[in-house]
Amino acid sequence: MLQGSEINKETPNLGELYQEIIVEHSKRPRCKGRVEGCQFCQEGKNPLCGDNITLYCQLQSSPQTNALPRIMVNFEGSGCSISQASTSMMCQAVSNKTVNEARAQISKVEGIYTGRAEQKSEDDLEEDVEALHGVSKFPVRIKCAALPWKTLELLLNENFDENGLQRPESLSCKLNEPCGSKARKLKVITTD
């Protein structure tokens, strides 16, 4: 052994990060696929790692005219198993919720993946998202788990007021047309 070596504290157990539910969601994501004609979309990225998602959000039509709108969220994306599983679990968890119920879910889950909320054992989980607790032991991976939740938070705040009603100025877009960029076009030259 090296002279004067110090044994650092123990490595957190990888099993806590890669719980079965998480691995399962990453391999068989729910709510995945682009929704044509969705009303709101928002891209989310971890620029340093390249994790990348787009959330597609629609409002459910409701039989009662004055009921609060309920959302449905789907996604497309690529990235590590934590970011993709977290997105899959989120879409499942917030679908059919009102905007403010979804917001409450976002802050609850933030407590889970940052480790502020109390931890439950793998057998006592009520919801899949609770499996994100293990992420808190791996600080560099928190941003992977947080990506969809932060993205949804932004989407909701941009388009809905604090009462969960659509902002009058929020324009639901037609068919996710690529946003027209006014930036000057780069003159790129290629050989083909």
Binding site: G4, E6, N13, G50
Partner: protein, 417 residues
Amino acid sequence: MKKIGASLRLEFPVFAHNVRRCADGVERPLCYLDSAVSTHKPQKVIDKIVEFMSRDYGSVHRGAYQLSVRASDQYEAARARVARFIGSGVRAEQVVFTRGTTESLNLLAHGLTETRLTADKRIVIPAIEHHANFVPWQQAALKADCEIAYIPMCGTSGSDLRLDLNAAAKLITPNTSIVSLAHVGNVLGQINPVQDIAALAKRVGALVILDCAQSMTCFSENPFDWGVDAIAFSGHKLYGPTGIGVLVLRPELLTELPPLLTGGGMISNVTLEESTWTTGTAKLEAGTPPITEAVGLAAALDWLDDVGRSRIHEHASSLASKFAEKLEKIPGIQLFYPGTGNETIVSFRHAALHAHDLATILDGSNVAMRAGHHCAWPLVRQLGVDALVRASFAAYSDEDDIEQAIEAIKEATYLLK
């Protein structure tokens, strides 16, 4: 001759401080395979920095007192040391200290936008560059509204992972004013044909800029002998401290370049109406420079040349080949490795295991490798993947690192099956 490999680790205190008991109860040494991002520091460099700060520290060029004189002497001696490191014929007056390669390249792109770029001109860079040698030129082209052309690779696997010289010859047209490229690629580890590309650029009178961030640890040829006009590199990849980089310029180019930063130390006169710049390297070194860091860099260069750059290259590239050979045998692994035997870097991915997951699992076995796009997003996209894991080898790497890493990768693929 100085030691190399595992026995050299005794000179690097970081290894003694980072032995770790892993979750399986096994104590594992630090297997550091991320030296392409940044190398660790030998005790000699650490001692020199502590000694300088303890005994000789003062700000430079301003004080009449002894300490300032001593610090100035050491700062200027560091500049001369850098010149000598690059090659005979390079003078200290050509060496500008910056905070790193990124700042050096930004300084060039910013200055040349003013002095050379107009809408009819062209910039040529490889499409696979590190963002540090990509984004500044892309932004310069936007600002000047000029053309930018990207040199492609010959292909996306194996020995095709190299710059396409035929394409380069077509793209470097008479209206090209700047050609900028890396000497060694930071993801594929490929050694670019700098002399050929420089010759193409010289034919049309274009400036040639070389990003030597990855090459200075292994190569001692003087790029100015190949017709290169400016080179950039960082201290922290050369066993030296962070916060110090170098920009070396042909004397005419130093005269031509306007400053990126203005302020103290770079003026010849300031009135309420206007300011004029001083000449020489000082013009490009506004503010209090990284004095301690420059002294540390000089110590690192001494250390590096003691070990020997070509020896490090031979050692690290042979380890990379052995690692690639073993890695390739693991089911599901795809290599992005040109395999000429000269690379010191091996990038790879696993078919079913995302690069970030793999890197986290490897950390569980005290194996430090980087996962992601490695600041070369356009390259990673061209390879048709979203992230890669990269192993890079250095003077203190050895066969035990290969074993520990291969073992950990095998376990990882098993864990997430």
